[in-house]
Amino acid sequence: MDIKLYQSWELQAGEKIAGYDITGGLGDLSIAVNGQSIYTPFPGQTALDRQRPNCLYLDAPEVPAYRFRFCGIQTPKLGSVQKGEAIATVNTLQFATLQKQANGTWAMVEPSRKLLEQFLQPI
C-alpha cells in the first residue's frame, strides 16, 4: 500500500539522517510493546507499506475516513482480519491515526487513548 501523507515534514519516518534510519516522526506515538501482540477491535484489511515493510496499515469498513498505521512490527497478519485477531507483534510500536482528506492525502491526527488501548489488548 502506498499512501500520501497530508503533512510533509522536512524529516519523515522512513528517511535517513546522517546514515541513521528515522523510525518515528512527528505524528507517531512510540509505545514499548516489548514483543507482545497488537490486535484489531474490528474486522478489516491489513497491508504493508510498500516503501516501509515494517509498517502495517489497518482499514476497517466500520470506521470510515480513518486508517491506522503500525510501524516497527514483526510477523504481520496480511489481508482480511477479524474482530479481536492479533495482527502483528512488535517491540517498539510507532503508531499513527490517519484521517482521509478531501485531496486524497492522509493526515496524522491525535489518537484517542480509548481506541489505542483497544489495539494493545485482546478483546
Binding site: E62, V63, P64, A65, Q82, K83, T97, K100, A102, E110
Partner: protein, 167 residues
C-alpha cells in the same frame, strides 16, 4: 439422533436397575461397556465442537445491523440518486447538507472516539438494489440483489466519509 436416544435410554435403564435393590427389572442390566464410553465420547466431542463453533462466530462480527444502537429509524433505502450524490461529497464537507440528502439512516451505530477528544457518529444506511448496481466490482462482492450497507461517519458538524459493508 435415534442412536443417541437409545444410548440415553440404556443409561436410564441401568440406573433404574441399580435403584431397585437388586430386584431384576424386565430388561437385563446394561453394563457400561467400551461401546458406551465411545458413544458418550462422541456425544461430548460433538457438543464441544458445537459450543466452540458458537463461541467462534460470536467472536466474529455478526451482521453490521446487529450493532445498531438505536431502533431502526428508516426502512427507506438510499436511491441511485442519493448514492451518486454521496460518493461525490468531499470529506470534511459540512454535515447538514449531507444528512439532508441522505435522509434518515437505517439506524445509528455506537459513537466512537477515534481522534482524541472527538466523538464520531456513525450512521448505517441501506442501499436500494438499483443503487447497489452502480457500485464498483471491487466493492460489490456478491451476486444478485444482495443489499449493500453503508456506514457514514460524522464528527461534530462535519461529514468525514463513508465505507461499504459487504456482509
Amino acid at each position: 439422533m435415534m442412536q443417541k436416544r437409545l444410548i440415553l435410554d440404556n443409561i436410564a435403564i441401568d440406573s433404574d436397575g441399580m435403584d431397585s435393590d437388586g430386584m431384576d427389572s424386565e430388561t437385563p442390566r446394561q453394563r457400561w461397556t467400551v461401546k458406551h464410553w465411545g458413544a458418550l465420547g462422541a456425544i461430548l466431542i460433538t457438543l464441544g465442537l458445537w459450543i466452540e463453533m458458537k463461541a467462534f462466530s460470536a467472536g466474529r462480527s455478526g451482521h453490521i445491523s446487529q450493532q445498531c444502537r438505536t431502533p431502526i429509524q428508516a426502512r427507506q433505502r438510499l436511491s441511485r440518486q442519493q448514492f451518486s450524490q454521496l460518493i461525490t461529497m468531499p470529506e470534511g464537507t459540512s454535515r447538514k447538507p449531507v444528512q439532508a440528502r441522505l435522509k434518515m439512516p437505517y439506524c445509528q451505530l455506537n459513537a466512537m472516539t477515534i481522534r482524541a477528544n472527538t466523538s464520531a457518529d456513525r450512521h448505517l444506511h441501506q442501499l436500494a438494489p438499483e443503487a447497489s448496481l452502480k457500485v464498483t466490482p471491487e466493492a460489490y462482492q456478491m451476486d444478485g440483489d444482495h443489499p449493500l450497507w453503508v456506514v457514514v461517519l460524522y464528527e461534530g458538524d462535519r461529514y468525514l466519509g463513508y465505507r461499504f459493508i459487504d456482509q
